[in-house]
Structures are given as C-alpha cells and as structure tokens.
Amino acid sequence: MNTVNKNTLVSIALALIVIAIIWVMTPPFVKPVITLTLSKSNVPITDIFQSRDVGEVRTHKLDKINLHQSNRFSHPKLGPLGWSENFFADIDMTFTLEKAGRYRFVVGSDDGFSLKVNNKELCRFVRDRPYRKQTCPVTLDAGEHHLLLSYFQGYGLAGLTLEFAPADGGKRVYWGERLPGLSYTTAQ
C-alpha cells in the first residue's frame, strides 16, 4: 500500500465517523399527525375511570399509534415514551371520512383503555391486563368526527396500539397512517 492510500483511507475513516456521529446525534423525526398527552399519576392506577391525581404532564407529536415495542410503551422511531408505571395517555382529535359506512377500530392495550367516537363509547377494558387486541365496530357518516382514546399503564409491561379499517375487510392501518378516504386534523 503506498503513502497516498494510507492517508486517504484514514481520511475516509474519519469522514465516516463524523457522518455516523451526526446521524446518531440527529433527533428522530416523525410527521406530527397526532397529539398524545401523557399524565403521570401520583397514585397507583387500577381502573381507567378512576379519578385522576396527576403530577407531571408531557405531550408528544406522533405519526401513528403503534406504541408496543418489546412489551414497552415505545414508538418504533422515538423510542420509549412516558414512564415505566402509573400514567395515563390520552388522544383527543378529529378526523374526516369521505364515505359513510361501517368501520372498525382495533385497540391493543396493556393495561386498560376506553375509546369514544363522537362522545359515544365504542369499547373499553377497565382494569389492567396483558397486551390484548379488541375489535370495536362502528357505523359512521361521511364528514368530520371526534375521537377520544384514554389509556392507562399500571405496572409491569405496557403498550398501546390503535388500528383502523373499513369493516368490509379493507386494508387496516395504524391510526395516523394514510388510508384512502380518511384524513386527520393535524395536531397543532
């Protein structure tokens, strides 16, 4: 190996290291579609409807509700969110459908949750449990609708997912992802 090659190789190695460091240090970014509000409870949570005694509150802008990675309340790109135990998560937003029809929400949670659309509760699991999915069918008109999802993590493993699909067996997507005929009011 001649002189030029050795120095050039070192230069390339240094450049690669600099690029790698910039890559690692750049904060992860996702499209801000949904506002997720996390509230740390000052007392243990055992029931989604128990009266809230909240301390620290955090908000996150997410691209989708897929918060179940390695049995933790964790986003695929943003990593773990919230705390390890005793917190609430709330999503309060509007969405618009182009077509009226039957649709289904699929909620996966560890621990409990409550899902309301247009102030009508579609489904719930009140207490703590391991991660399970629950299908919640609903008939919706074309136009704007209001969605309210509440979730709690008591202790141990955690996770929350929300999926949406037409009831006729069409494509199912995580809430926040693109689906023909569905649009979200982007989080501010």
Binding site: K6, N7, S11, E56
Partner: protein, 498 residues
C-alpha cells in the same frame, strides 16, 4: 523561524497541554457537592488521619494520606464538625456537615491527574522524538470522559495514574539515555521508588514491575544477544535488590505513617486489630518500630480478609455495576455514579454523573492494540522485517503491559468495575501513539501535510466527542431527548432517569 518552531516544540506544547488539562480537570472540581461512588469510603478514611483515628481498609494508604494532607492544608471545612466520620467506614450525606466543601479531599486526584499530562507528553516525545505527535496524542488523555469524571473525585485512580506515568516516564528516560550515560544502579532504585509510590496507592500498579524487565533488557542487551547467562545472572543479583528494596522501603514508609497517625481507637470498630497493636495505640506508642511491626501485620491480614470477602460479579443482580474485563475496551459497563432530577413546565432535566468512555479514544486504543498484536505476530510468526527496530520494541513493551494487566485482571474472581480499565487504557493510549508513528513513519519523515491534517481532524473529533459526552462528566442538565441522543451503544447499559 526555525528557532521559533523549535522553541514552540520544547516549551509551548507542554504549556498549552497543561493549560488544557487544568481547564478540563480543575474547573469547578468541587461539584457535585455531594458524595459519589467510593468517596463515601475514602473521605471517611482520610478524615481519620486528620483526627488521628486508627483504621484499616483494603487499599494501601498513600491516596488517603494525600487527601487528608490536602484537606488539612486547604482547610475548607475547618469550621465544620466532621468527627462523625471517625465512627464509620462509609459516610452518607446525612453524616456530612451542611455546606461541606469537597475541594480539599478531591484536590490530590484532580491536580495530580492534570499535571500527569506532562509525563504523558514526555513519554511519547522521548520515544518518537516528535513533539507534534506527542502533543496530539496527549489530547486523548485530556479529553477522555472516563478519566475526567473519575479523577475529579476523592478517589484513588487519579493519584495512582500520576505515579504510574511518572514511573513510565522515568523508565523511558533511563532507556532513551542509555546509549549516552548507560544504566546505573541508582536508576533501578529511583524507578523502584516511583513504582513503590504507585503501589502504595493501589496494588494493581504491580504490573509496573515489567518496567524493570524492560530497563534490564536494554541494560544487558549485548549479554542477552550472546546468551551470556553468567553475566546476566550476576547483574540480576545486583539489580533486583536495587530496584525492589526501594519499592518495599517506600511501601513500608507509607504504612509507617499510616500506623503512626492512628493514635486513637474508633468507637464502631477495632478492625480486628490484635491485642498487641491495640495496646500500642492505647499507650500512644504508634510511631515505635514495635507498633509498626505488629500494625503492618494486622493491616496486611485485614487487606487479605477484606479482599476474600468481596462478592463476585453477578450480572443477574439488579443494579449490578460490576462488569467483566472482556467488555472494558469497548466501554462495558458504564456506571451511574449519581443523578439529580428537576422538572420545570413538564420538562424533566436530569443531571447525570456517569462513568462512560470517550468512544473515539477507547475504540482507537482497542484498534491500536489489535494493530500492535498484528505487527508483533507478523514479526515473530511470519518473520516480516521491522522498519524501525527501537519503535517496534517499544510497541512490544506497551502491548505487553496492556496484555499483562488484562490477563491478570481476568484471573481475579471478585467483582471489578470499568474504572479498573483506566490503567491499561493509558498503556493503550501510549501504544496508539507509537503504532501510529510506526505505520506512518515515512509520512512523518516526509512531513506529509495529508498525515498532519488527518491527525488534526482526529484530535478535533476526540475533542468534539468529549464535549458531546461532557454532560455526563460534569453533571450538566440533560433532557430525555438529550440522553437518548447520547445513548450510542446498548452494551454501555446507560440508565435513563425518568
């Protein structure tokens, strides 16, 4: 112009390095103003010297003696009542006086570490003969986050590393001057004194006995080449006592002071001191030779029993801070020394005080060791020619020091921690400078701009990464996002505080 360059090489580099190391190591070293890691033990021990209380512990006394001397001289806590430190071996925050200053106890480790960059520079400068290379690679020592956080504390490593580098510098000086003035017996004796000082802080400095082998090898190189066993053994019979006796003398002298100062008995423990030793203490006779003899024996036994009682590494234990030496070169596992949390307007900021490496420095050192092993194998196994014989032997020497320490550590059964790697890390840093000089010898001789540009960028990179991880070294506030951005490797096992 050449005169200016020559002057810069000789004086400006050491001065600049000293300014940089002082800024990095000495600035606000009293922060955090709380105890962390082994400070709980060492400050309690050092205070016992100030108050004249007998104690024993697993490490030799020099480090704590220097901490006590510094605390007494600075007198930053002279108005505070620290007598409770005498009645325990492990102080907590509840034992410390309000507004306790840590500047006195932490000064020896911090100051000596800041000064030791001069030895580091001198070692590389003497071996390579190139001040630019020496200055550049000394920056690795200044800007390593693990060395910085662990030395800015009332702990033993900063003090020990100073004496280790002093001993290495002196050995290098002996060898590089050998052609001019030869190697005399007093060289062995002075080297023994320096090694003795390092061993009197922590016994793992015994790896420096290999320096005697290196000096002896150069001293008797002609006899070795001609296999003159009689000559070699005769010289050995003289040089071994000349080197080892001063080492033992220093070690004993340090223990003599330690035993002499222990003139009262603590209320919580007699440290299994024998009745004869306790009798000397009660009679206020601790400076007598008889008290020294019995005290040394008791201290030695205590150190041995304590060492036997230290638990083994248990990676299944929740919160285990220990780690296997195998993973140390890459930084496994980091240690969260302490943290504090503050939440304002829903944003949590945490001040971490974490032992973690500067990955550019540690990975470079590891690569340097691999390259050195490759070079040594290529010479001794494949018979490849060596392009710089003296430099090759220096590389062999520092690679051997690194390897010997790591092999010895791997045989220790008790739990060990990442900071036990700081000693071989320094060997590895010196080796990295040497192997780089060896690989780029032609470019250095040709004063290649490309080589020096690369070297400059590399040092900038070391500095930039040091700054990136500085929040962990100086307890600067970090948000969760800031923490995650710095959590580069899962095997570091950094622990997020929420």
């Amino acid at each position: 112009m050449p005169k200016i360059i020559s002057y810069c090489r000789r004086h400006l580099y050491p001065l600049l390095l000293l300014i940089a190391s002082s800024a990095v190591y000495l600035s606000f070293y009293g922060q955090p103003s709380s105890l962390f890691w082994d400070e709980n033990y060492h400050i309690a021990s050092a205070q016992k010297y100030i108050d004249g209380t007998l104690y024993m512990e697993p490490h030799p006394p020099l480090g704590k003696l220097l901490m006590a001397a510094s605390e007494a001289l600075l007198g930053t806590n002279s108005d505070s009542d620290k007598t409770s430190f005498n009645n325990t071996d492990y102080i907590t925050g509840d034992d410390t006086p309000e507004a306790m200053s840590y500047y006195g106890f932490r000064l020896p480790s911090t100051l000596l570490m800041a000064l030791s960059v001069l030895f580091f520079f001198g070692i590389i400068k003497r071996i390579t003969g190139n001040a630019h290379i020496a200055a550049a690679f000394t920056c690795l020592m200044i800007f390593d986050n693990a060395l910085v956080i662990h030395s800015r504390a009332a702990m033993l490593e900063g003090i020990q590393l100073f004496f280790i580098l002093a001993a290495i510098f002196y050995a290098v000086r002996i060898i590089t001057n050998a052609a001019i003035q030869g190697i005399a017996l007093y060289h062995y004796a002075l080297l023994g004194v320096l090694i003795g000082l390092a061993v009197s802080v922590k016994v793992n400095a015994l790896v420096l006995l290999l320096l005697f082998v290196m000096v002896y090898g150069v001293d008797q190189w002609q006899a070795i080449k001609q296999w003159q066993f009689t000559v070699l053994i005769k010289r050995l019979m003289i040089t071994v006592p000349c080197g080892v006796l001063p080492l033992i003398a220093i070690f004993c002298a340090v223990f003599y002071v330690h035993i002499g100062l222990g003139s009262s008995i603590a209320t919580h423990s007699t440290y299994k001191a024998s009745p004869a030793y306790l009798q000397h203490v009660r009679q206020d006779n601790t400076w007598s030779p008889a008290a020294f003899a019995v005290g040394l024996k008791d201290n030695w036994r205590y150190m041995s029993e304590y060492s036997d009682g230290v638990p083994r590494l248990d990676i299944c234990k929740p919160g285990e801070n220990g780690s296997s030496a195998i993973g140390w070169p890459l930084g496994t596992k980091t240690i969260n020394y302490r943290w504090s949390k503050d939440t304002v307007d829903g944003i949590t900021r945490v001040r971490y005080h974490n032992l973690l490496p500067n990955p550019v420095v540690w990975f470079s050192v590891f690569i340097g060791i691999i390259l050195s092993l490759g070079l040594i194998l290529s010479r001794f196994v494949y018979g490849h020619p060596v392009k710089d014989q003296p430099l090759f032997y220096w590389i062999c020497g520092f690679t051997t020091l690194y390897g010997s320490y790591m092999i010895a550590i791997l045989h220790i059964e008790r739990v060990m921690y990442l900071y036990h790697y700081l000693v071989p890390l320094l060997f590895g840093m010196i080796n990295l400078a040497l192997i780089s000089t060896y690989i780029f010898k032609t470019e250095i001789l040709a004063k290649s701009r490309h080589f020096y540009t690369n070297l400059f960028i590399y040092i900038l990179l070391v500095f930039a990464v040091f700054i990136i991880f500085a929040p962990f070294s100086y307890s600067w506030e970090l948000t969760e996002a800031g923490f995650n951005a710095r959590n580069w490797f899962g095997y570091w096992r950094l622990e997020l505080v929420r």
